[in-house]
């Protein structure tokens, strides 16, 4: 039976290292601890709030791509971490992964719906920013927690 594509197991450790580094950099962004990387880029749209004189559409212009690089590292490493094969990949682990995606979806969107009714105005921008990164983070937390519990729970041979 044809199964879904999963990344090779050897990518798991490099992905974990990059994920931890990029998560740290993502956490530092709201505290303005960032580097400026202004390079020429092609953009479909570049229009910054309160500085429309530097706007450009469907053309080249200079932009700070630090956040984009951090996001690229965070999302790609997060996806590889969650969707890379275990040493022995079997159907039970596939089920754990499927359950983790379901739980992460329920959890993320329940929190988002609650936030919709509790946070109004500008602070909601921070909520959106949080949920932008939250799903992939929750997915990995749920998956590795469930995997740990599964390995722990069934690690000893039952000889009753």
């Amino acid at each position: 039976m044809k199964s879904i594509y999963l990344f090779p197991n050897k990518l798991k450790i490099p992905a974990l290292v990059i994920f931890i580094i990029s998560l740290t950099l993502v956490i530092l962004i709201p505290f303005e601890i960032v580097y400026e990387l202004r390079v020429p880029v092609f953009a479909i749209a570049s229009d910054h709030f309160l500085s429309s004189e530097n706007s450009f559409y469907l053309s080249f212009g200079k932009e700070d791509i630090y956040n984009e690089l951090v996001d690229l590292l965070f999302f790609s490493s997060g996806i590889i971490l969650a969707f890379s094969k275990e040493k022995t990949e079997d159907e039970m682990i596939g089920l754990i992964r499927y359950k983790s995606i379901t739980n992460a979806t329920y959890f993320t969107f329940t929190l988002l719906i609650i936030s919709e009714f509790l946070v109004f105005g500008m602070p909601f921008v921070y909520i959106i920013m949080f949920f932008y990164y939250a799903f992939i983070l929750f997915l990995n937390i749920f998956y590795y927690t469930k995997l740990f519990i599964y390995k722990k729970q069934f690690s000893y041979e039952n000889e009753d």
């Binding site: 039976m1 275990e86 022995t88 079997d90 159907e91 039970m92 682990i93 089920l95 599964y150 390995k151 729970q153 069934f154 690690s155 000893y156 041979e157 039952n158």
Partner: protein, 65 residues
């Protein structure tokens, strides 16, 4: 679902780890199936029955059977 994997393992004198290796699954998965915590796929059940040289029905039964 009830399972007699443990019985067939004893008949064939193989451990959970050896069975897991032959079926290309983790030992934890075999343990979970034996404990009745996980129902295997049709494919895994068929591979198991082929390995023990018995029918799937002999290894797995529904609780009310």
């Amino acid at each position: 679902m009830k399972t007699k994997i443990k019985v067939f393992r004893a008949i064939h004198n193989i451990t959970q780890a050896e069975l897991a290796e032959k079926l290309d699954v983790t030992r934890q998965t075999i343990n979970a199936i034996e404990a009745g915590k996980y129902a295997p796929s049709v494919e895994l059940a068929l591979r198991m029955s082929k390995m023990f040289n018995v029918t799937v029905n002999e290894i797995f039964q529904l609780d009310d059977e």
